[in-house]
């Protein structure tokens, strides 16, 4: 097998007769590429413009996060989880804190759970908005929708900064709660942003999702069937776009999500347009959750006082904890041997596993569709390569 993993096809697939005899053109798209998905490379074999084989190559951002996790203490790994999916540092922190809390049997007070949900839903808002912006600039919109999305993202990042001290790498969750309490003024500002967000969503959806070019480039492109999605371990909006009703917030009932009423949007066709619609509809549902959570947040402590910060040694055992991150199911598998460092620290990255079926989605489409499909998968290389 060659280093690229591409093998020669002996016959064209049925239904595609090539009247001209020729060779397949092997193109390496990436790792330096105008589309802003990070250092990701695809070895594509093209017959003219049609994709015949596609093999993703990654590892260009492999920073051995798991090895660092074995050498650092449990709390010492928390800042590294920020840098996994660098758009959504709050949800990464929550997934890790949840796994350690499962491992050590720690309870979380009410106010901390509410804060976690509020921050996770704010993260989901800015992640989905940025994704739509990036996808549109891949399609050739030259960055204008991205400017709109980043305008809203900056407002949410201001909230994160005033709460945790940093725009992107927040390092906010702790085992048994949160690091810093949110003042009443911060909650009022968050309420203001949530009240004004639907107006931005209306404008954004009208510009993007009802745009003729977007519709013709994304409908019936990259169809993913439900059986393939389940077998390939796809999670998140991609799975729900194929019609599978599986949202970890409803299934695992972690945090205080069962207290809030929100719907799960499902797609009918599983194509790229459905995946875009999923993100737009999920943003609306996040607004619903925030509208319920922000007024209801109770007073109280934000961290469990019984948890030791120094010399934190969970009992011997193992645990797998997962949450519904904006990109899919983010899970952490930890094996503890009773010491201050985990014996095995494993991240279950949603973007990595969602790339399993990239070849299946792109076969038979043109090169231009490949970028659109890749954009709708929503990958972040920090998570794919860890």
């Amino acid at each position: 097998m060659s280093a690229t993993g591409l093998q020669e096809l002996e016959q064209p697939p049925p239904g595609m007769s090539s009247r001209l005899e020729g060779e397949l053109l092997e193109v390496s798209m990436g790792p330096q590429h105008p589309s802003t998905h990070g250092v990701f490379r695809m070895n594509v074999a093209l017959d003219g413009e049609i994709v015949r084989k596609l093999k993703p190559v990654f590892g260009y951002l492999h920073r051995n996060h798991e090895k660092i996790g074995e050498n650092a203490s449990y709390l010492g790994s928390m800042p590294y989880t920020d840098r996994l999916d660098y758009f959504c540092s709050m949800t990464n922190n929550w997934a890790y804190a949840l796994s350690v809390e499962k491992l050590a049997g720690i309870e979380v007070p009410e106010r901390a759970e509410y804060l976690r949900i509020i921050l996770a839903e704010l993260t989901r808002l800015q992640n989905h908005a940025s994704l739509l912006g990036f996808l549109l600039s891949d399609m050739g919109a030259w960055g204008t929708p991205l400017m709109y999305a980043f305008r809203e993202r900056e407002k949410i990042l201001d909230l994160f900064e005033s709460l945790s001290g940093s725009r992107m790498m927040c390092d906010y969750m702790r085992f048994g709660g949160c690091r810093v309490d949110a003042s009443a003024e911060w909650l009022a500002r968050a309420q203001q942003i949530v009240d004004r967000f639907p107006r931005f969503l209306d404008e954004f959806e009208e510009l993007i999702l009802q745009n003729e070019i977007v519709i013709s480039r994304t409908q019936n492109v990259g169809k993913l069937s439900a059986e393939l999605a389940i077998s390939a371990g796809i999670t998140g909006p991609m799975l729900r776009a194929s019609g599978v009703n599986y949202d970890i917030r409803k299934v695992d009932r972690y945090g205080f999500y069962p207290r809030f009423k929100f719907r799960i949007p499902l797609g009918d066709h599983g194509d790229t347009y459905d995946r875009l619609m999923m993100r737009a509809l999920e943003m609306r549902e996040s607004i619903e959750i925030l509208k319920q959570a922000l007024p209801q947040i109770p007073d109280g402590p934000i961290v469990n006082p019984k948890v030791k910060v120094r010399a934190f040694r969970p009992p011997v055992g193992e645990a797998y904890g997962r949450i519904e991150a904006p990109k899919g199911e983010l899970g952490f598998y930890l094996i503890s041997d009773g010491g201050p460092n985990p014996y095995r620290y494993r991240v279950r990255p949603p973007s990595f596993i969602n790339l399993t079926i990239l070849e299946d989605l792109c076969l038979g489409h043109t090169v231009a569709d490949v970028m659109v499909i890749l954009g709708s998968v929503d990958i972040v290389m920090g998570e794919v390569d860890r």
Partner: protein, 222 residues
């Protein structure tokens, strides 16, 4: 979800010859797991996926773990004759467990919305190229994750459609996540080394044992 004992009985009935062991999880998370034997693992996995009551159709996570040779000390109460009187005395026995590589699969059921069911497979030893059956034909999500286990640990999966390195470059020969991997030495420029990094940087700087690790470090030489 049914209890592990019930699932184990079902599986052993359906796949004759399968040996499934329940490994208890001592911690608070209570996620105990099955240890499958390597010959029948694929058949048991297929049964777990296809049986209508279980329907574990979603493989969420595939993890490889490297266990070095361990000695476990156990205290056992033994009857001994001490000064003519028979007493119960604590005797510490050591059990040597040779090292192995292990692959852990976390399974969920999307149909019945339950889980996780944890299954494990172990290799016989820690030699490079240790073989294990691949569960990619059963759950496609294992495809990239098993490639990663091959790349970083050196476990070879029989039956994997495309087993090659995924995160490191192809010419790389080591398996970095193993516990006995030593990283290459490029610590020649360290402005403020301390602890483990200081040990590695000392090879490149002339050693000054009375100063290295000392509290007072000034920037201006005299």
């Amino acid at each position: 979800m049914e209890t592990l004992e019930q699932i184990k009985n079902r599986a052993e009935l359906a796949v004759p010859g399968a040996r499934i062991e329940v490994i208890a999880n001592p911690g608070p998370s209570k996620q105990s797991s099955f240890l499958l034997d390597n010959e029948h693992a694929v058949a048991v996995a297929k049964f777990l996926r296809d049986h209508p009551v279980l329907r574990f159709d979603f493989c969420s996570n595939v993890t490889a773990v490297d266990w070095l040779d361990r000695t476990i000390k156990k205290t056992v109460k033994v009857k001994q004759v001490v000064d003519g009187i028979e007493k119960e005395v604590d005797q510490i026995t050591e059990e040597k467990i040779p090292g192995y590589l292990e692959v852990v699969y976390h399974l969920y059921s999307i149909k019945h919305k339950d889980g996780p069911l944890v299954i494990r497979m172990r290799t016989a030893n820690r030699m490079a190229g240790a073989p294990l059956p691949s569960l990619t034909p059963i759950w496609r999500s294992a495809e990239f994750q098993e490639r990663e286990a091959f790349d970083l640990y050196g476990i070879e999966f029989d039956g994997h459609p495309d087993l090659r390195r995924i995160l490191m470059w192809d010419e790389f020969t080591d398996h970095p996540m193993r516990k006995d991997y030593r990283e290459p030495d490029d610590y020649d420029w360290e402005p403020t080394p301390h602890d483990a990094v200081l040990e590695k940087a000392k090879k490149h700087y002339p050693s000054r044992p009375e100063l290295d690790g000392a509290e007072k470090i000034t920037a201006n030489p005299q």
